[in-house]
């Protein structure tokens, strides 16, 4: 297992390095730059002032020099300063991460709480009204866009109940109740959407496992259905579900831009979108590297979890 992990780590570093080059080149192809954004309505300033400002921001240097300089900083543990904001890349990521993490965890918990029981029940009660209802709800969750659901929720909560959740983010440790009030609606909407996909995956894998001979044997031995499902079916059905869940959770850690916008949550998704639209190259690079590292780490974690779930799987 140790040598497996080392190999994965080396592979991860290569992936991250290549990814950083691609991201760097892509964003520099976009028209406009950080100085243009900062100047805003001032528009064009005199050429000498323009050159001076570009020099101070470091964006007058050749791209290769800019990239190398940035990479040198990364190797020293410094992701650099934002080109637009008077703050470091790390500090801005640090401020956004707890919000995104909280939303991701809440949404994932809701998704699992929906998917596990509904998916299993739907499989056990295949082709019954319960199964049909579960499938309709799952399809609806997949088909209805989250932003529409969120807009409708905000609008009709206000129109019908004269209530809107607090749209000013309050950290969990400052006021847990107010924090929950702000987070619960986006978490529910995201969780429902994720849970829909997971439900379908759960249903289909459980159905597949239920058809195996060893399940027929277990029933023939007289084991109770609950024991069969809990001990034999679930573990075997979970591997694909965990893969999907892991990918979904990784995507959530990248930030749900739409939910963050609609509910005014200052998470990592909005931060990344803002950095791209502001041509904040250092922030984009930093975010991409960080999120890439998370994705790689999550993938390793998922792979390792397979070994725990299925003893037949061994990494050597």
């Amino acid at each position: 297992m140790a040598s497996y992990l080392v190999r994965r780590l080396i592979g991860a570093l290569v992936v991250l390095f290549l990814m950083s080059i691609v991201v760097f080149r892509l964003v520099h192809w976009l028209p406009g730059d950080a100085l243009i954004v900062k100047l805003g309505e001032s528009g064009r300033i005199s050429p000498d002032k323009l050159e001076e400002a570009r020099r101070e921001m470091g964006i007058d240097r050749p791209l290769a020099v800019q990239y190398t300089s940035w990479l040198g900083g990364v190797l020293r543990g410094d992701l650099g300063d934002s080109l637009i904001w008077d703050d470091s890349v790390t500090s801005r990521l640090r401020s956004g991460l707890p919000i995104t993490l909280e939303l991701a965890v809440l949404a994932s918990v809701i998704a699992v709480l929906i998917a596990l029981p509904v998916g299993i029940l739907s499989a056990i009660k295949q082709d019954t009204p319960i199964d049909y209802l579960a499938r309709v709800l799952a399809i609806t969750g997949l088909a209805v866009p989250g932003f529409w659901l969120a807009t409708i929720a905000l609008l009709y909560l206000q129109l019908w109940f004269h209530w809107t959740p607090s749209l000013k983010y309050t950290p969990l440790w400052e006021d847990p109740l107010l924090n929950l009030q702000t987070m619960i609606l986006p978490a529910l909407i995201l969780g429902y959407s994720l849970g829909a996909g997971l439900t379908r995956m759960m249903r289909s894998t459980v159905l597949e496992v239920l058809r195996n001979d060893f399940i027929r044997t277990a029933r023939a031995k007289g084991l109770r259905e609950r024991m069969i499902i809990g001990r034999h079916v679930l573990k075997n059905a979970m591997i694909p579900v965990i893969t999907v869940f892991g990918l979904q959770f990784t995507a959530l850690l990248g930030g749900s831009v739409i939910m963050e916008s609609l509910f005014s949550l200052p998470g990592v998704g909005g931060l990344t979108l803002q950095a791209i639209s502001q041509r904040d190259y250092t922030q984009i690079q930093g975010n991409a590297l960080f999120l890439g590292a998370i994705a790689v780490f999550m993938n390793v974690l998922i792979d390792v979890s397979y070994a725990w779930l299925d003893p037949r799987i061994r990494y050597s």
Binding site: G32, I36, V37, G40, E41, Y169, F263, P266
Partner: protein, 619 residues
Amino acid sequence: MSGSHWRQGRPGGINRRRALGLVGAGGATAFLIACGGDDKSSKDAGSNQPSSASGDRSAGAAAPGSVQVNLDAKSKPVTGKEKIEELRERFHPQNLKHLAGQKDGPKSGGTLRWASNVPVSWDLAGPAASLLASYAVFHNGLISFEMGDMSENLNLVKTEGDLAQSWEQPDKLTLTFKLNPGVKWQDVKPVGGRAFSADDVKFAVEVYQKAPVQSVIYRDVERVEAPDANTVVFRMKQPVAYLLGVLRQPMNLIFAREQYESPDGLKSGPIGTGAFIYEGGQDRVGWKARKNPTYFKKDKWSGKQLPYLDRIETTYYADTNASLAAFRDKQADIYYPLNRSIWMDVLKTNPEVITQITTPPPSYQPYMGIRVDKPPFNDVRVRRALSLAVNRDDIIFGPFDGMAGYGYAQDWTYFDQEWPWSADQLGSYMKFDPKEAKRLMTEAGFPNGIGRKLEIYHIASNGINFDVGQLVADMWKKNLGIDVVETVPPDSAAWQQNFYGVKYEDTIVAAVAGPSLDPDAYAYDPLHSKSTKNYFKVNDPELDNLTEAQRVEFDTPKRQQLLKQIMQRDLDQAYRLWTVAPYKINTRYPYLFNAVDQVHAWGPLGWGSKVCELIWMNK
């Protein structure tokens, strides 16, 4: 109007002499309005320009709160069918002084909640300085302009002192300011609440002279002197008439040397002499401020100490649905409906809100830049045809639901005109005449289209300006047979690159002209061949001469004449395609007072506004 356009302001309490003077001025104003008089006031003929003289709008005519007004939809419904003339009359800012609650105030206390993010940088002298024009609550400049419910007319500009108590121009190369006594810096390190003096102004201006954004404002200033603690003297390299106008803008806020020279400099946060002290903020969350207990100003109407509010707390809303939901839920005290339809929606759920409709700002209106240096746009007949092919009434009554006037970015308030330009003030090529347009195109050698695709480079932000661009494209296709290709930028940065870098191929949709409180920015900047802000490649010797001449003309009527000539030449040559100028709609809860718009300033915490120091609440 004769003599200098700039009137000295004297902040302070109202005494008997001053009150009598105001009543006398108010009565004289009412008499002049009733008798007709100067046709530069907004009595123009034309469907969009009725007289604004109905009723007596003078400041001294009736006691505040004593006249019945219908600024909400509860006392009198808003049907949605009203014409703009009716709406401007009913929701005119001068009616705000007659809100019933005015009798109870002003009162101290309360927290203003509003939609605002922290700026990208607090550096007043950095590249992002223009963005800080919306955060003028922490600092003061030398001069500013009147805002508040009791204002004479928020659709016009009335200069008043800010840090300066008075000013004079003894000759064309000298501008002298006398500062208010007893001003202190906020008690925040490293400035620490010390006394403010003329040296602070001198220092800040000298920094601005080298700053990327402000250096252009002070380019004609030779030096600044501080002969004593309360006097600042500007010595000019050459006479310029625009300086007082631009000094009212919120890009000239005064900061302290100690902060500038500290390790973090001005980026550490705003420390000024202003009404509020910054407490902190976070990107995409908002910011907080508390009242400055040592603020030097008193309310010139009530005589009471400012500011009234205890605190300001802002929230950042990334989405307009979220900001509307917050307003409906009273998580925010003010809201800006972007158009009439949204305003009507707000009134359905919150009929109690107070509405103010303000004349459009000349600086913010959809228009199109044209590459007048490239064929076929270097042919004036083609440019005129493009303009004649656009039906501006369709735009006014289409996406704007009637809440817009004809557009042209020159400050009509400089001509003491309250409402936007009327059709007859805008020359021969702003009317809709597709036949004449076609004839001109044929004469220019383009009987059907221009022989190739014409690119319209769209604007990335604000849906309604994008709609205008699309409408214009449709009109050109339909009326001139032009094969239009519409390019949509991925975001604002791409648009900015194309516009400010003059990289667009043919035409580009824009929404900002200026902004500025002096007509020079609407004349010289876009039209002089040597101007860095000439984004259209205009190269017209007549305009060069005229724009240079207005810069040095101190006599207001003569300067107005020159500006009118510039306007006529610009419109005659159709260097840019003008469309419409949208009215501003501001809604606020009835417990809030003085949270006004002014023609140039947006809301209590928008561009150019310092009105937060006057806001009070009765909750």
